[in-house]
Symmetry: C2
Subunit: 344 residues, 2 copies
């Protein structure tokens, strides 16, 4: 049986010591990490600093019924790294604040930190600070991430130009369908404690939901080829919603082709099982953490040679609106579904 | 009657637009603020970057029964600025993440942002990013703050040397006693809805609890006099606890004199009303957001001339321990009370 150490046996300072004692600084720019009033970081010569933050709340962004603590730590870090990559930069330092309740054991929190550290190790990021507090309710996770980028390489959301190509990495909808699958199995489990979920043939969907990847490899690839996207954003709220962000901020329109939107075969099968349109899941599902970017039409051939990158459409003038061209050739307007929980 | 706009009438993007539309960037170093995947900041030449974060949870760190939203916004920002000043640096940029429930109105959140903006204006800080999410429970506030400091002027916690003078700004215990007062009045109010609390003669205590000040003026004064503290920390958890942090990290001991610990007369009167020892409240109360720092003994005369700074003792070797010398000349060991809520 797993060891369970109650948080109450440690107290604040001993708990923080235990969670952070293994943390080591690897980046030369991390001068001072955890243990003072603030972290101290040496700016990288010739670079600008990037700063992003994400808040993850139990019951809204994750369900501990099916998300292991280690995966949660990993994902919490990765969603922040994804924001830094979406600027065409590299993450370097991270702070983590946790609001925790008595429900959790010290081992739960250690598993969370293990996942966080794993993601940081994979992306060359140092954990340099944080804040740990009791919570009266669920688990609260707030992560801020600092990164660097060369000023002439930063990709904003507002730089897309008419005729630019619209490109994406990876595929879409799988993380959303993974979540639907987990929710379904949880409902069945709630009614039958002997129930064992069968996820065979759906591993990719679970992986996309529980252990998303931030696309550092795409940023590396763009740098190698000397390509600077005219605009870039990461797909957290759904491809449709992010396309509309780029259009609105760049004051342009777009046309994307239904047939070019990449969707994994497991996602297609799962969508059919749920009686969902796979393209709708891909456009509105969210949590894919892929990169959506635009480049000049002149880069068409170079992009075509980039492994795992798909061209899904092109930028138009603003008056043309933002539309998808379906397989039968008709145009349908793209809509932002986004985050609607507040109006439920 | 106050206008109340339900959050549900707006939705995510319109809510964020409404809360952030008035925000303007004032610092030349703030290249890109809210509205992209990450903020972009230009590092200040010859400076290092400071990064700190604080998590504030409803029911743990604040009670909306007696904390107005505007004050909460103000205090949330100030506690972060205080951490940056405690490094002998200056805050420049801030991100704010909010977890909000249907209980709150758009006007509540606007008041929070007004308070946040007021604090930012007073301290020359730009709001450059954030994350807004629904919460199933109470209000969650996570703020991260970036600042700058000259490398040779950064004051860490670990630089105190034997014989250094221990100095503090302001006075102690008032914020804690203000909280006790508010809690008492809340209990009376709960039993009698017609009850009107009388805070006359106790305004300073409420001000210290509800609208604490981060001591930028002390950092300015130290810079003017060319003094770099050998160690510095801000007093958030209580003077005793912070003294022990400096002693532990600097591997030294200390002697502080009870008679030199500054306590306001309103705090003394309030402590007596509560049958508390005012010195105990001053040592363990917390939330004073004053600066505690050490300087070389040679700076004695210069410090004596600094308005509002008190010398309360001196640094010893580690073997001597950390003690207070009481008015009758006996030594009592300083203890860290800190944050014990987890073991309640």
């Amino acid at each position: 049986m797993a060891i369970r150490t109650e948080i109450s046996t440690l107290g604040e300072f001993a708990l923080i010591d235990r969670l952070t004692e293994k943390i080591q600084l690897k980046n030369a720019s991390s001068i001072k990490g955890i243990g003072d009033d603030a972290a101290v970081i040496l700016p990288e010569s010739g670079h600008q600093t990037l700063l992003t933050t994400d808040l993850l709340l139990e019951g809204i962004h994750f369900d501990l019924m099916y998300v292991p603590f280690k995966h949660l730590g990993y994902k919490s870090a990765v969603v922040n790294f994804s924001d830094i990559y979406a600027m065409n930069g590299y993450p370097k330092q991270l702070t983590v604040s946790l609001g925790i309740s008595q429900r959790f054991s010290v081992e739960d929190l250690e598993a969370f930190y293990d996942g966080l550290q794993l993601a940081c190790d994979e992306h060359g990021v140092d954990i340099v600070g944080g804040d740990t507090s009791v919570s009266l309710t669920g688990l609260t996770i707030s992560i801020s991430c600092m990164g660097i980028a060369q000023p002439d390489k930063i990709a904003y959301r507002n730089g897309a130009k008419e005729k630019d190509l619209i490109c994406v990495s990876g595929d879409f909808g799988a993380a959303y369908l993974g979540l639907q699958l987990l929710e379904r199995e949880k409902r069945i489990f709630d009614g039958d404690s002997g129930f064992k979920p069968d996820f065979s043939g759906k591993e990719y969907l679970l992986e996309r939901q529980l252990k998303p990847q931030a696309r550092r490899d795409v940023i590396d690839m763009l740098a190698e080829k000397g390509i600077v996207p005219s605009a870039m954003i990461d797909v957290s709220d759904g491809l449709s919603s992010e396309l509309l962000h780029i259009c609105k901020q760049s004051k342009v329109g777009c046309r994307v082709y239904e047939e070019h939107i990449p969707i994994d075969y497991q996602a297609i099968a799962m969508a059919e099982e749920f009686n969902l349109n796979p393209v709708t899941a891909a456009l509105n599902g969210g949590e894919d953490y892929e990169l959506l970017f635009t480049v000049s039409l002149a880069l068409h051939e170079q992009i075509a040679l980039m492994k795992g990158i798909r061209m899904i459409g092109y930028i138009t003038n603003a008056a043309s609106g933002a539309c998808m061209i379906t397989r039968d050739g008709t145009e349908t307007e793209l809509l932002a579904q986004g985050w609607n929980s507040l109006s439920d």
